[in-house]
Symmetry: C2
Subunit: 273 residues, 2 copies
């Protein structure tokens, strides 16, 4: 069987960790794929641990013992956070984005995988120390953010639907009031998609009044789930009082000046503390 050089194992380890963050790989697994003794893997891991810390990529946690393993927990440093937040602001504030009625066209951003990956890196950094069983979102625009945040945190996602589908099996449905439009709408979630008593993180793209996030939190009560956090990519400055109290936003939208084509948006500076 093939033997590999240390350089090669270090590279392979980082590739494996980067593709599946927050996932615990056993030493046995590495031993097998590298055809190397566990003591060799331990030495490799010490090098990887140091490089992850040197480059400010987060941390490698090792679990000792016979069933031991290692997990890569990516945590962005302030420099990378700042870069991503500034890039997002400049993307969202381009004047061509203003639509009739003072809306902002954001669909391309929320469907661009590498931009959404950056958003997911910010969200997963903030919640990396929480125990989360599932990420919850509502269709449609928030799905990419939820999926990539789930991939970073290694947790499944449950998508609340606005229409009931036969392929969802039995569902729980509730009505909620969209804070901005004052419309009563329905949302439904497949019973199978979330275990009772789960710890969940609610994720959405945009918050104005907070009605949708409140609706999701209400839905979570039907599943006896514990909401450990709510994260939105953008919140509007007005209305100041949202229907949910405790949430994290990455960006703050102060104002849209349709006439002059100006969008005033800035990072949530609390993230950089």
């Amino acid at each position: 069987m093939k033997k590999y050089k240390r350089n090669q194992r270090i590279g392979a380890l980082m590739k494996i960790f980067a593709e599946k963050p927050n996932y615990v790989f056993s030493y046995n697994y590495f031993s097998e794929i590298f055809n190397a003794a566990k003591s060799t893997i331990s030495e490799d891991m010490a090098i990887v641990k140091e490089l992850v810390s040197e480059f400010d990529y987060g941390k490698i946690e090792t679990i000792p013992g016979a069933s031991g393993g290692a997990v890569f927990v990516p945590i962005l440093g302030v420099k990378e956070k700042t870069e991503i937040l500034n890039e997002l602001c400049s993307l969202f504030s381009h004047k061509n984005r203003i639509l009739p009625g003072g809306f902002i066209y954001m669909t391309d951003i929320f469907n661009n995988p590498n931009i959404v990956l950056n958003i997911a890196k910010l969200i997963s950094t903030e919640f990396s120390s929480e125990k989360i069983d599932c990420i919850i979102t509502v269709e449609t625009k928030g799905i990419p953010v939820a999926i990539l945040s789930g991939q970073r945190l290694n947790v499944p996602v449950a998508v609340i639907r606005k229409n009931n589908k036969v392929t969802e099996g039995s569902t729980v449905s509730i009505n909620y009031v969209s804070g901005s439009s004052n419309n009563v709408q329905a949302m439904s979630l497949s019973k199978r998609s979330l275990k009772e008593n789960s710890k969940v993180l609610i994720v959405d793209d945009f918050m104005k009044g907070g009605g949708t996030c409140k609706g999701m939190a209400d839905m979570m009560r039907e599943f006896n789930a514990d909401v450990v956090g709510t994260a939105v990519v953008i919140e509007t400055k007005e209305p100041k009082k949202k229907l949910v109290d405790d949430y994290l936003s990455l960006l703050l939208l102060n104002d849209i000046n349709e006439k002059d084509g100006l969008i005033d948006i800035h990072p949530n500076y609390n993230l950089l503390k």
Copy 2:
């Protein structure tokens, strides 16, 4: 400024490549973040190139010259493809998945980021040598597959909506006949989400009659787009004649026996040739 050991640079290179496959990084970029001469980076790259080939991870392509760079093109080997396809079959064929009416509950699978990542690895492997500008899907269940395939291939995604939304700006709408239900439905795509004359890959979760994929292909004609491929995760054996001719499916669903709780599903063995 900090200097790094070769080991550390190799690990960092693989982490960077793994997070952004099919993205061309310049040697200047690596030179800066590693605080190292380009000749050093070239030597590192030779090591990385070899390890990627040794571990059957795909290939590193280097672009020579002053504006040179390097890109990681992940391509699954037959062993990994086989493992993923078998794992998918065993997931989809669990008898608890049968719903009243002979439907299969699949929502949890299509919302599980690490399972969808494996699906995206298969799809991106098949299309890694095609020039693709955009991945197209229709809401809702195919979105995670599209986003993660887009992330692997480094291309944006455009999501066709079933309802027209004010936040999409001006849209193109068409009607299509869902092959399985014979219903006429509308789909619309924001004009801004796809440039004219793009080369697109159509992606969806499930194909029975092929009506939805045909609808997406029809929509693409409205944008003068060139459909370079169509990929679905599961196709049903019946009807044999689909409304689209040229498509790739990862799995074939032969039969659902509701009475005995049996789901007969197998890999598309052409992928393993």
